[in-house]
């Protein structure tokens, strides 16, 4: 039974470790993408007075949640466009004489999730022709991140509770084997704390022993992925968290969860036996 509950902790922690590694990496990537989200507020071409444009910039900067507002003239915009098109961009050079683009304010928010509301407010300002922030895509990205976090959290909590249940059953068996001893201890006036601590230690030990294999796997597995696979991925936004310190932090989390599962399991089962 001891082996079984250590095994249960081991399995739980392996799954938790994998979930955590995937989730935290996804989270990091999502955060990277989220950080890249910016609002392009295109200024109406008829809105030509320089003072008006400066006023508009200040108005935007005063909005709640706005981090930075950068002005980019239509010439800058064309340059960026030509640059981003590479060789094909040369065709656009013809437009340098008669630039069809707008002046643009590039707005960043402190919290990427504010993007949508801030964009909607900017759109109402006079002189703003159009607001562009990757409508649709951004909303879906945020939604996906929220789902992924919630689902991951629920799965991890479910696994942790299963392991706590198994540990508390193991400890219950130890306690029942020692129930006569505990009864005598209570009779001669031992305090609950005194009776509890050996089980407390036992639970913690079960949890910590159960975390050895998962930690080994995390360190070895993540090292392998970090050195062999991440080099082959070339998309700039898909970047794994570096082995050091991430794998060590993850191991520590696994160890703490393991000890927590063990202690909690033992506390749960001892509590019932101390009520006399």
């Amino acid at each position: 039974m001891t082996v079984a509950s250590i095994g249960a902790v081991t399995m739980t922690l392996i799954l938790v470790a994998v979930f955590l590694a995937v989730m935290l990496n996804l989270n990091e990537m999502a955060a990277n993408i989220e950080d890249d989200v910016e609002i392009n507020a295109m200024i109406d071409p008829t809105f030509n007075e320089e003072d008006d444009i400066v006023d508009l910039g200040e108005q935007i900067a005063e909005l709640n949640g706005v981090d930075s507002v950068t002005f980019s003239s239509r010439d800058d915009e064309l340059e960026k466009l030509i640059f981003s098109m590479g060789e094909e961009g040369e065709a656009w050079q013809l437009y340098e004489q008669d630039n069809p683009l707008n002046h643009v304010y590039i707005v960043r928010t402190f919290d990427p999730e504010d993007t949508v509301t801030v964009a909607a407010e900017i759109e109402t300002f006079a002189g703003v022709e159009e607001v562009n922030y990757g409508q649709g895509v951004v909303e879906r990205l945020f939604q996906f991140n929220t789902y992924a976090r919630t689902v991951g959290l629920i799965l991890i909590l479910g696994l942790v509770f299963t392991a706590i249940f198994l540990i508390s059953n193991t400890i219950k068996i130890t306690i029942m084997a020692r129930s006569k001893e505990i009864g005598i201890m209570k009779l001669v006036g031992a305090t609950n704390g005194f009776i509890r601590w050996p089980f407390f230690i036992e639970g913690m030990l079960l949890g910590v022993l159960g975390s050895i294999i998962p930690i080994t796997l995390v360190l070895a597995g993540y090292y392998y992925i970090d050195t062999n696979i991440s080099e082959r991925i070339n998309y700039s936004f898909v970047e794994l968290l570096p082995f050091n310190p991430f794998a060590w932090q993850l191991s520590l989390i696994i160890l703490v969860i393991g000890a927590f599962i063990g202690v909690w399991g033992s506390v749960m089962s001892v509590r019932k036996f101390l009520k006399v």
């Binding site: 006569k180 001893e181 009864g183 005598i184 209570k186 001669v188 006036g189 031992a190």
Partner: protein, 228 residues
Amino acid sequence: MILMKDIYKTYANGVTALNGININIDQGEFVYIVGPSGAGKSTFIKMIYREVKPSSGSIIINNNDLSEMKERKVPFLRRDIGVIFQDFKLLPKLTVYENIAFALEVIEESPRNIRTRVMEVLELVGLKNKARFMPDELSGGEQQRVTIARAIVNNPKIVIADEPTGNLDPETSWGIMEVFEEINSRGTTVIMATHSKEIVNTIKRRVIAIEDGLIVRDEYRGDYGYEV
């Protein structure tokens, strides 16, 4: 000192065990609790060391009001009360010495005190030469002496025994009674539930008879009063 006032006890399953108990037992008394099986003797005894709480009424033990006592104080109450059972409740894997020392270890007594105290009580119960024996190497009477030694090793003010001679033959029982008298002569209150007519009628002490959860008789130097 034990003082009970209007004690009623109804268990969760609906059985009423005590039906208005009033009693006053002074420090140093020797009291027999007699009565038919199921009359409420065990409930009465368990209330003293607070294994059972009354449904209503108040109990005062050594100036502590048990109805107001917090859970975490209960262990300290029990350190002043030694309890002895018919079925001994010894730990089979520990020696006689260890079984008695166990009672002091779990209340975190210092090792030096433990040694002297255990040897003292072993002498008192007459088992000094059997300290290293295992419980199953002893006779029933000797095992009961070990449990008595364990109950008195931390100098309790009250010793409670629930049919301590119930599993013993008459001759052995007299030996056990001598130990109880010795303990009582040192100023310890002894409360003993028993079905032994011979003992109660021979060693005359206060007799409290409980029937249907009520005290029906309370006399000093009383008789057992029931036909066996």
